[in-house]
């Protein structure tokens, strides 16, 4: 058991009962068992009684197996699927508030948004808020492009994902 562990990121999709306290059960399980959550996103599904959680877990294969099994043990968990096993699409949404000290900078930021397909969602006196959706790659690229202007605040939703057909 002392073998060196290679940690990877896995995308786990969890269907749960849309009930009071389920998020606490899942989060509590991760902290009690010492599993690492990279991100967790949750929302209702086509069935209002069911929610889907997309959890990005940092683990090795053995820990991942335990994550899946322990999640399955929760009564409110209906189904657990490791999406990384097959093809899947994953998207994340980011909001970036960028400092725009003058009109020139503002113009540059707008141009970055336009060329990358991001959207301007709020314009203030000293800042612009840019919204983008995409895979991790795209989000990271946008962050790097805007960083030189001075990023004031960032919020990311964490990945949401579905298996591909």
């Amino acid at each position: 058991m002392e073998k060196k562990k290679k940690m990877d990121k896995f995308v786990v999709s969890v269907l749960v009962e849309n009930k009071f306290g389920v998020l606490a059960r899942v989060a509590g399980l991760f902290s009690a068992r010492g599993f690492n959550i990279d991100s967790l996103a949750v929302g209702k599904t086509e069935d209002p009684e069911v929610s889907r959680m997309t959890i990005v877990v940092e683990a090795d294969e053995r820990i991942l197996e335990q994550v899946e099994k322990q999640l399955n043990k929760l009564i409110d968990v209906i189904r657990v699927q490791d999406l990384t096993k097959g093809d899947y699409v994953a998207r994340e949404l980011i909001l970036l508030k960028v400092r725009t000290s003058d009109a020139k900078v503002r113009e540059k930021v707008v141009r970055v948004a336009e060329t990358t397909g991001a959207e301007i969602v709020d314009v203030g006196k000293r800042s612009i808020t840019v919204e983008d959706t995409g895979d991790e790659h795209k989000i990271n690229a946008l962050m790097e492009l805007l960083r030189p202007y001075g990023i004031l605040e960032i919020v990311r939703t964490g990945k949401v994902a579905l298996p591909s057909e």
């Binding site: 058991m1 002392e2 009690a32 197996e65 335990q66 929760l74 409110d76 189904r79």
Partner: protein, 564 residues
């Protein structure tokens, strides 16, 4: 249909589940419930003297009878006092349903008087839990709670019931079926996997059955015994598995692990095939993991998928109920002689038996042996506390039947044994129920003497009194240069603080003291014959140790055998 109150709905639901006994303690948030319980006769409520004891009693009842145990307390401190008992049941997969009162719905979250977030507090120590805020959910919740507690890998379920919901009214309709989307335990083992086990057995020269508490929980002792005898494969059990296989059978190796028999541990290390049934490769069993069973193909039969390959990589996993899977396995195995293997084991048994110094001193192991001698042929249930008393009781009693050994394995809860014995006695009024205790652990729930006396439960308490917290003292002796930090409970005279005989008498129980080996039998006979609860205070050799012993974190091949 006429409407009845939440309290009445709960009681009717419990009746539907066949509940006959509740162990409980009252308080402000359960007055409506206790009031309705008071007015009916089907369910008997046993008043403990501490809520922790109510949880342990429900647990002991469940272990002894194989049915779901029920405990009930008020909100806040009453409910939090259940925590150790619930955690004990959780670690050992014992089906109990804990009912706690809660403050009124509109006060929840307000830091109200005697409010505690029980669903939050017990989330990691229950199989599932509920807060019932709508009376319309109550009957369904009770139905689900019992279903979840007793099926799959069993475990405790908590129902938190606000006091105003106990008073609201609704029609009572008990659901016939349970449908929980995310809970469908798998009972039948996959036939391909069972076939693989049969093949592995055919190839094996040194097979070993490693049996845990799951076999007892599943009611599979008969199947296990048949399998072992039909296939001629030796059996070792975990502490939780004691009683799953008769220890006086030639195929039995007794218990393995930290304080297991030398022959069980050697057999584990030598085996080329280990068939684990309802066991979970706990660290007290495996010792140092990377040296555990180095030559063995590992088969693991368990109803809980998360137990498989958690600690030890498993070669042939079978997810299913022990009883169902063993039945299938019996059909496909063949008898083989394994002559060399049995010869080797027989030799280990001869050279490295369980032993202790046989002189005229009063040694705890002797007392356990005498209890066995005097109760042969009787229905006897042994409960234990935790520590040396527990290990000696595990090693020296020779268990032959399931549900006759009640001990806190996973959590290792001192103070468990006596209230568990009370619960067992309620469930098994005809059995002789004995709590084997140390002078330390018995003091953790000693107040239950009142329960035993007033409820007329003739539990016998055997105190192996050495004036120490003996197991920790043993570690301090062996690994901490005899610095007995915080483990000395009595200075010289072990009959003074407390005087257990007087203590027993003060509650109206009988107290007997034994200081010499020659008086052991007589005292035990007297205790077993007595109509009511008895404490027998045995003043034993103070620094007696439990051997064999595998030091924590070492390979189970490296046992200390002591001087005996």
């Amino acid at each position: 249909m006429s409407k009845i109150t939440g309290a009445e709905i709960l009681i009717k639901s419990l009746q539907q589940e066949g509940v006959k006994h509740i162990f409980g303690y009252p308080g402000g948030s359960v007055i409506p419930l206790t009031d309705k319980l008071y007015q009916q006769k089907d369910i008997r409520v046993h008043l403990t003297r501490h809520e922790q004891a109510a949880a342990h009693a429900a647990d002991g009842y469940a272990r002894a009878t194989g049915t779901v145990g029920v405990c009930m307390t008020t909100s806040g401190p009453g409910a939090t006092n259940l925590v150790t008992g619930i955690a004990t049941a959780y670690m050992d997969s014992i089906p109990i349903v804990a009912i706690t009162g809660q403050v009124k719905c509109n006060l929840i979250g307000n830091d109200a008087f005697q409010e505690a977030d029980m669903v939050g507090i017990t989330r990691p120590i229950t199989k599932h839990n509920y807060l019932v805020k709508d009376i319309k959910d109550l009957a369904r919740v009770v139905k689900e709670a019992f279903h979840i507690a007793r099926t799959g890998r069993p475990g405790p379920v908590l129902i938190d019931l606000p006091v105003d919901v106990q008073l609201q009214e609704a029609e009572f309709k008990y659901p016939k079926t349970v449908n929980i989307k995310g809970y469908k335990p798998n009972y039948k083992g996959h036939p391909v996997q069972i076939e693989k086990i049969a093949k592995a057995i055919e190839k094996s020269e040194k097979p070993l059955l490693y049996v845990g508490g799951g076999v007892i929980l599943s009611g599979a002792s008969g199947e296990l015994t048949r399998l072992a005898r039909k296939s001629n494969i030796p059996v070792t059990t975990t502490m939780m598995g004691l009683g799953a296989f008769p220890e006086d059978d030639e195929l039995s190796l007794g218990m393995l692990g930290m304080h297991g028999t030398a022959y069980a541990n050697h057999a584990t290390q030598e085996a080329d095939l280990i068939i684990a049934v309802g066991a979970r490769f706990d660290d007290r069993v495996t010792g140092r993991l990377d040296t555990f069973a180095p030559n063995a193909t590992i088969v693991h039969i368990d109803i809980d998928p998360s137990s498989v390959s958690k600690n030890v990589p498993v070669d042939i996993p079978v997810i299913g109920d022990a009883k169902t899977v063993l039945k299938e396995l019996i059909r496909v195995v063949k008898k083989r002689p394994y002559k060399d293997w049995h010869d080797t084991i027989r030799n280990w048994k001869k050279v490295l038996p369980l032993k202790y110094k046989s002189d005229d001193k009063l040694r705890p192991q002797y007392i356990i042996e005498q209890i066995r001698q005097l109760t042969r042929g009787e229905e006897v249930i042994i409960a234990t506390e935790v520590g040396q008393n527990q290990m000696w009781a595990a090693q020296h009693f020779t268990y032959s039947d399931p549900r006759t050994w009640l001990s806190s394995g996973g959590l290792g809860t001192m103070g468990y044994g006596f209230p568990a014995a009370i619960g067992a006695q309620v469930g098994k009024p005809e059995s002789l129920v004995i709590d084997i205790a140390g002078d330390g652990s018995i003091q953790m729930n000693i107040q239950e003497l009142a329960t035993a006396v007033l409820e007329k439960l003739p539990v016998k308490i055997i105190i192996l009194n050495n004036g120490y917290l003996g197991m920790v003292r043993q570690w301090q002796e062996l690994f901490y240069s005899k610095r007995y930090a915080l483990t000395t409970l009595a200075e010289k005279d072990l009959t003074k603080c407390p005087d257990f005989v007087k203590l027993a008498e003060s509650y109206g129980a009988k107290g007997i003291r034994v200081t010499a080996k020659k008086d052991v039998k007589k005292a035990l006979k007297q205790a077993f014959k007595a109509k009511g609860p008895v404490i027998v205070d045995f003043i034993v050799e103070r620094e007696e140790n439990v051997f064999p012993m595998v030091p924590a974190g070492e390979s189970i091949s490296n046992m200390l055998h002591g001087l005996a």
